[in-house]
């Protein structure tokens, strides 16, 4: 899949979120979750200290910035980047549709905090890599103890949106 095709999906995603994604972390987690739901955006994810991460997506965002199609600006007073489309984005990238399931997921998750998406995507990743039930919860506590306040909502969303059994 060519970079322009992949960025076409990312452009649509940014627009559906409302024009700005607060944090690269949030974008990586969202793309992972959309792919997990069956909408192949062309990215391969690995699991690292901050959860699911796609080196290719990081690269595409930088390429999008160097093409003046995507803007990545540091959010003052934080370590996070605000990702949005530039005014000339439409000249550089053509939108590519997302699936209707993806649109539903974006609608539910677009205003959620990055920490919640990190907990949710970690649950989904663990679940698809041999962790279920109490083992999943234990592993989540081991890997992401800092996200404990997000667990309940994340498990509820994992169950509702991604059929992760939470009992």
């Amino acid at each position: 899949m060519s970079i322009l095709k992949r960025l076409g999906k990312i452009k649509t995603l940014i627009e559906k979120v409302g024009g700005t994604v607060n944090g690269r972390k949030k974008l990586h987690k969202l793309v992972y979750l959309l792919q997990h739901s069956g909408d192949n955006l062309g990215y391969r994810f690995v699991f690292h200290n901050y959860g699911v991460f796609s080196p290719l997506l990081a690269n595409d965002l930088d390429m999008g910035s160097s093409m003046n199609a995507i803007e990545q600006k540091i959010i003052p007073g934080s370590n996070a980047y605000k990702i949005s489309l530039s005014e000339t984005a439409s000249k550089m990238i053509i939108n590519d549709d997302l699936s209707s399931k993806s649109e539903e997921i974006i609608e539910v998750l677009k205003n959620k905090e990055p920490q919640l998406l990190e907990a949710l995507s970690t649950i989904v990743y663990l679940n698809s890599n041999y962790y279920q039930g109490t083992r999943l919860r234990k592993k989540l506590e081991e890997l992401k103890p800092n996200l404990a306040s997000q667990y309940d909502e994340a498990f509820e969303l994992a169950n509702r949106l991604f059929d992760v059994e939470t009992n």
Binding site: S2, I3, G23, K25, N49, F53, K91, M92, S128, N129
Partner: protein
């Protein structure tokens, strides 16, 4: 934030004791199975690879591991670099060997029957079990087809470790948790970022081996670097990480002696970038990869149309029916099988004209040709694409299979989000490589810059090449 802050100290201690008791028990088993006379395997890169544990020998003899002999490390690159016929099997052995060396360097005090060492060595040995035929090309094919159940090769590797009968038997003596830990190191879910980073980071044994091996086998020596010096100057340090959300947390990481190791690190990072530019992203390699993917896309689409392609295969059927590929079916795939299909299609022109022609081109290395696009924007691409597709149609080449866009890109160093390389200077706190003083290290400044290569090709049949070059010139002006 303290990463242990959630549990009380007593719970934490209890957990640690449980962990130690478990590890002690397994280490007894590991000790029993140490080989008194190590097996030696000769290797062109590392010379003698010593295997001193029965588990490694058992794993080498399993079908999933032996299958890696039939998957080329560099996919179709041997069409450009004739020596590049080496397999994922040889690379996996190299990664196993280096994981042991790196572990011994950072934890020299550990005994021979150390739990963590065996976990990380086994993970390095098995990390590529999940590669499909022609290595990364199978993943690329599934992405092109927008297959919805696509898994990364690491996730496939994890599945094979957990579920394959022979694998399970090998791990039986060491318990379910040992097996799960191996899987977790491969898939990144392991609790210790230190062990994960040996197998998967910007400074891991996977890269160490593939750079040296690919350089040697292709004859393109860009990827050579001072491995022994790099390893010698590694140690463990506690580092502080700053999350995007502003939370900081500490973890153990491998760090490199800045004074002694920076030049070797620069050589390594630049070597990696050059290998990508000259070998993996070579324009003829891109053409061969493109043709390979189009052949299989055509085959899948013919099945979708209800046509008989002369091949019956469960994986192709799963792709067509959008159902999950089973591990057993996945493991049936290898380079030899796919080449046998392509050979069959090259000899049977009645099945489908494009399938036959592309297969013939692939086998006889009469590939499509790449035209480099210098000015990249959707408008340039669109205008060129529109005109080229018209010419393709006029010449009887269906654009869906004879028009390929390829735009590989690689940065020398990723300074975002994961796997930063750490440097230390005597007693000072370790720093991220991206924070190095670039006045003292100008080459590092360029690497972090970031130094990068990006290419944009459109790939078309040789028969229309002259016209396409003319179109490109016109549209770029």
């Amino acid at each position: 934030m303290n990463i242990f802050k959630k549990g009380s100290l007593s719970i934490e201690k209890e957990e640690k004791n449980k962990d130690h008791n478990y590890k002690d028990k397994i280490e007894k088993q590991i000790e029993e199975n140490l080989l008194t006379t190590p097996k030696i395997i000769r290797d062109p890169i590392h010379d003698l690879i010593k295997i001193n544990h029965k588990l490694i020998l058992d794993l080498l003899d399993t079908e999933p591991m032996q299958r890696l002999r039939r998957i080329r490390q560099l996919g179709v690159a041997s069409l450009v670099y004739p020596g590049a016929e080496h397999s994922r099997f040889a690379h996996s052995l190299g990664a196993f060997h280096l994981a042991g060396r790196m572990y011994n360097q950072i934890r020299p005090e550990r005994k021979a029957a150390d739990y963590d060492r065996l976990v990380v060595q086994v993970a390095a040995l098995l990390h590529d079990l999940g590669h499909g035929p022609f290595s990364h090309l199978f993943e690329a094919l599934l992405n092109e087809l927008r297959y919805k159940y696509t898994l990364s090769h690491e996730e496939w590797s994890g599945s094979i470790v957990m579920e394959h009968e022979e694998m399970t038997k090998c791990f039986e003596e060491y318990g379910e948790e040992f097996k799960s830990d191996v899987k977790d190191v491969i898939t990144g879910q392991f609790k210790s970022s230190l062990l994960k980073s040996i197998v998967n980071s910007q400074l891991d044994v996977d890269k160490f081996d593939y750079m040296l091996r690919d350089s040697f086998m292709t004859g393109a020596h860009y990827g050579r670097f001072d491995l022994n010096w790099m390893l010698r100057n590694m140690t463990i340090k506690n580092v502080q990480m700053l999350d995007e959300d502003g939370e900081s947390f500490g973890l153990e990481a491998i760090a490199l002696d800045a004074r002694r190791g920076t030049s070797a690190l620069e050589q390594f990072l630049l070597g990696n970038l050059y290998l990508y530019n000259h070998v993996y992203y070579h324009k003829t390699v891109q053409c061969a990869e493109g043709v390979f993917i189009k052949i299989l896309m055509r085959a899948v689409n013919l099945i979708k149309e209800g046509k008989d392609i002369g091949i019956e295969n469960n994986v192709l059927n799963c792709i067509v029916s959008e159902s999950k590929i089973s591990m057993e079916d996945f493991l049936e795939l290898n380079d030899h099988l796919i080449l046998s299909w392509i050979t069959f299609w090259s000899k049977n022109k009645d099945i489908d004209k494009s399938l036959h022609d592309l297969s013939l081109r692939f086998l006889s290395r009469k590939l499509l040709k790449a035209v480099k696009i210098e000015k990249v924007s959707i408008s340039v691409y669109e205008r060129i694409s529109k005109r080229v597709k018209k010419i393709l149609n006029n010449n009887g080449f269906p654009p869906d299979y004879y028009f390929i866009v390829s735009d590989p890109a690689r940065v020398a160093y990723k300074k975002v989000d994961y796997g930063e390389i750490f440097l230390f200077e005597e007693e000072n706190n370790p720093i991220r490589y991206s924070q190095i003083n670039t006045n003292n290290h100008p080459i590092s400044g360029a690497i972090i810059g970031p130094a990068k290569y990006e290419h944009h090709f459109i790939i078309v049949p040789k028969e229309i090449l002259t016209e396409v070059i003319q179109i490109k010139k016109e549209e770029e002006n």
